[in-house]
């Protein structure tokens, strides 16, 4: 019988892999994909808890997260394109013009 722990542990694993993607890649697109992975992992935990607590609030929350993720990707990718136009290079380590 599957319990909520199965889903939350899977969610934890996916979240760590997403964090790993942000940490070890320098390509901004892959880093965005890591952020998407983390958001998806959180969504899975939300839905799992909603199911095992017989409470729909978690599922409604997932919709809000979905909206925020879509907005974040649109703005983030627009930023990447804008940076690419201005700098010819989208290596995240070299975008440090705002460094104090």
């Amino acid at each position: 019988m599957l319990t909520v722990t199965h889903y939350t542990v899977l969610s934890a694993i996916l979240f760590s892999i997403g964090a790993l993607a942000v940490l070890i890649r320098r390509n901004p697109l892959i880093m965005f994909m890591g952020i998407e992975l983390m958001l998806n992992a959180v969504n899975l935990a939300f839905v799992a808890f909603a199911r095992y607590l017989n409470n729909m609030d978690g599922q409604v929350f997932v919709f809000i997260v979905l909206t925020v993720a879509a907005a974040e990707v649109a703005v983030g990718l627009a930023l990447v394109v804008a940076i690419f136009r201005a700098r010819e290079n989208v290596d995240v380590d070299e975008i440090d013009a705002l460094k104090g």
Binding site: M1, L2, T3, V4, T5, H6, Y7, L10, S11, I13, L14, F15, S16, I17, A19, A21, L23, I24, R25, R26, N27, L29, I30, F32, M33, E36, L37, N40, N43, L44, V47, A48, R51, Y52, L53, N54, N55, M56, D57, Q59, V60, F63, I64, L66, T67, A69, A70, A71, V73, A74, V75, L77, A78, L79, V80, V81, A82, F84, V90, D91
Partner: protein, 186 residues
């Protein structure tokens, strides 16, 4: 639930869990951004299967439409525009990579142990699987979105509007540039 039903549930769960984790690792490891994006599509599909297992069919469909449909296509478009330059980006140094793997693994183990040790609160909610399947998943979600969660719903719509305008402003091409006319062609 019968033994057969429980067995099939576990089988589908482990099948898609393994698929999801392997595809997620593929996102991190793949050298080409296109392969990362396609691996990400597999993760989204595996999670949609999880939502079906968790009695949330509408969320599974929304997951496929929004993530595999919209978000992934956006990624692929940007990869298409930027691809030749993306290959020039190097990786982290070996020391950085090892440190990142260690910390991410430690974080994952910590979270897993915490989840496994936790005790789930008693299921006191009114939305039992029987109730949801009788009333309809879309109907239940829709009724909640337009009653109890109306304010977050409206704020989300505002957020989407801001994101649309923001993305257009950020990605807009400057029409008139002084100097090199080739700038407009890029």
């Amino acid at each position: 639930m019968t033994d057969y039903g429980a067995f099939m549930e576990a089988l589908v769960f482990y099948l898609f869990a393994i698929l999801g984790v392997l595809a997620a690792l593929g996102v991190v490891i793949a050298r080409s951004p296109v392969r990362s994006a396609l691996s990400l599509a597999l993760v989204f599909l595996a999670l949609a299967a999880m939502y079906v297992l968790l009695n949330a069919p509408f969320l599974a469909v929304a997951q496929i439409m929004i993530y595999a449909g919209a978000v992934l296509i956006l990624f692929l478009f940007v990869i298409m525009v930027l691809n030749p330059r993306l290959d020039l980006i190097g990786g982290r140094t070996a020391a950085q990579t090892v440190a990142a793997v260690i910390f991410a693994a430690a974080f994952g183990v910590l979270m897993s142990v915490t989840f496994a040790a936790g005790q789930l609160a008693p299921a006191t909610g009114v939305f039992t699987p029987e109730y949801v399947s009788e009333a309809g998943h879309v109907q239940v979600i829709g009724a909640l979105l337009f009653s109890e969660f109306l304010l977050p719903f409206e704020i989300a719509s505002l957020l989407l509007l801001i994101a649309i305008v923001g993305a257009m402003v950020l990605a807009r091409r400057e029409r008139v540039r002084h100097g090199d006319p080739r700038q407009d062609l890029r």
